[in-house]
Subunit: 339 residues, 2 copies
DNA sequence: GTGAAAGCGCTAACAG
DNA sequence: CTGTTAGCGCTTTCAC
């Protein structure tokens, strides 16, 4: 057995007695090749176990079938769902998503972006509208479509697809006000790290203000959002302010923890206390009570974003600056009184 | 503004008055370059907004800093945790993970693998030991380290890192037997789709048999494992076999759903009924009762796998065929009586 | 329908 | 410390 050297087109060419060029044509289903030649080539390629070298191919053709997807985390169920949407659409094309994770760190985001752009992807899908100056500069001069997703409250570099978190916050506030709750507490992530949560909170307080109300107590946390965290924070807040009649959580996981705590305590939900989260986490479907929440249209966002990239990959001249706003809906569940 | 053409080294070379080769050295921190030249180059590169073309670089250097990670799903929290482990280690190197998702479909796995191998990655990390013949063939002839993860009950193509699911099943069975439970039901995914669950089940029944017991009832499902599913299945099984005294679930999510159901029903856990899952999902920390479970060492698996790749990337001659078995531990939680 | 030549943008290897 | 030369493996372009 000769020292293993990666197979090249030339090997297939020699094995099949067909020129490299024609082998290349066959392997890419390009141009007219006689059935006989095609068979010879495919046969040779398969028995050799040839895998084309996309690096060389991409360099020569100036075409890369990769789409860079840059997200803050995989642990937050939101992003896997966005990925599902993206895959749903890209699977129909020859584009391939490549995922980069930033862990909510702007510095990492910059590095991941740089790294991915250096592979000259056919498109970039990136979470959020807030980026460092350097990242924005890279996105702007990237020679491919850029879709910023999840959020539309801001100025995109190119295209954007998402929901208005400010509006989402307002909608939830309105539902709460309409249901007659008055003494409202907020529990969520530390804002500077989470722009979308901040915008929801802003919309939320704004709509409360319009109804003459304000948030009576608030508490912020850092780190992973498990149910444990929600449980602890809820216990603390209710100890501090026992007369609250509603708790608004920045996401469903901590909300579910809070809900479990309240049920343990025998609190009468949703009458003496209402609760709501954000994000419609379906994993939580089995809880004894359904938390009020709001669907953030994650799969749809991924699909729409991917569609923009795919469309422009087909026709690079068209498109640009697309802006797609999706509309979330409030689910009252069992923890927010209907009116 | 001239028609936008991607910047090349030559542009930086011209802008800085330094040869392409030296520019290249600076940008890669390679070899000795005088501080003066270095500054000129970096300055020029930054103001131009140059991003190197890794495609060309990789072709020339025959080196790619990508590690292909192939996993069945992102929705199953297991895999994001493995990814965390991988990132923990690769972040210290210049290697970059690239994720491909197969959705548990062998055909997709083949395609994703082919696609990734065609980019000539520095390593492959792939979930499971079971692959189609074509996939195995590709892995075998891939010219890079291949680490199969999660499971070690089988023959690896090259290296493997994981736990023995058969042993995990046995361990849980022993804990259950020792605790004195006798009438045991099993609820899990359809086996042909999930080799690791199957192996756990095999080990489980084997250890039960050794204690003179067998599974009294079992039920399988397909599709996403949310708490809802676990709740429904549990209700059905307990209706069918009300005298069961233990329920073993193939994962924590459905187990948690079952637990919620039983608590709703006022069943006395863990006395009249014990329960256990698999995978130590920490998101569930806030439930009123902690499900007995078993840690599958996901982060550690990712770390160990990445370390193998990183080590071999440094010294391509060394290594090969590493096999790392990690040992899970049983957590009794509140749903499995201690002895 | 098929082949030959040129070069994609970078880096290895060597020369100064 | 810096520059020159020759490809990396494929596809584009053009010729037959």
């Amino acid at each position: 057995m000769p020292p293993r050297r990666p197979l090249t087109l030339r090997d297939v060419s020699e094995a099949s007695g067909v020129s490299e060029m024609t082998v290349s044509r066959v392997l890419r289903n390009r141009g007219d090749v006689s059935a006989a030649t095609r068979d010879k080539v495919l046969e040779a390629a398969r028995t050799l176990g040839y895998v084309p070298n996309k690096i060389a191919g991409a360099l020569a053709s100036q075409r890369v079938n990769l789409v860079a997807v840059i997200i803050p985390s995989l642990s937050n169920m939101v992003f896997p769902e966005v990925m599902t949407g993206i895959s749903n659409v890209l699977d129909e094309t020859d584009l391939q998503p490549v995922v980069g994770v930033t862990n909510y760190q702007p510095a990492r985001a910059e590095k991941v972006l740089y790294e991915m752009l250096s592979w000259r992807p056919s498109g970039v899908i990136i979470a959020g509208l807030e980026h460092t100056d350097a990242a924005r500069a890279m996105l702007r001069s990237a020679d491919c479509p850029v879709v910023e997703i999840m959020d539309i409250d801001g100025d995109p570099v190119d295209a954007m697809v998402g929901i208005s978190h400010r509006r989402a916050g307002r909608m939830m506030a309105q539902a709460i006000v309409e249901a007659g709750y008055k003494r409202i507490g907020f529990l969520g992530t530390k804002m500077p790290l989470d722009h979308r949560a901040r915008k929801r909170f802003e919309g939320f307080t704004e709509a409360l203000a319009k109804a003459g109300l304000e948030v009576e107590d608030q508490q912020f946390y850092e780190g992973g959002s498990g149910m444990t965290k929600g449980r602890e924070m809820t216990a603390e807040m209710l100890k501090r302010c026992p007369d609250l009649d509603f708790l608004y959580y920045s996401n469903d996981m901590i909300g579910a923890g809070g809900l479990m705590y309240c049920l343990d305590q025998g609190i009468d939900i949703p009458n003496s206390l209402g609760m709501a989260g954000f994000n419609a986490v379906e994993l939580l479907g089995g809880l004894p009570m359904q938390l009020a929440t709001m669907d953030a249209c994650r799969t749809e966002i991924g699909e729409a974003a991917a569609r923009i990239i795919a469309t422009r990959a087909e026709d690079p001249s068209g498109g640009g600056g697309e802006c797609i706003e999706l509309t979330p809906t409030v689910a009252h569940g069992d923890t927010l009184r209907a009116v």
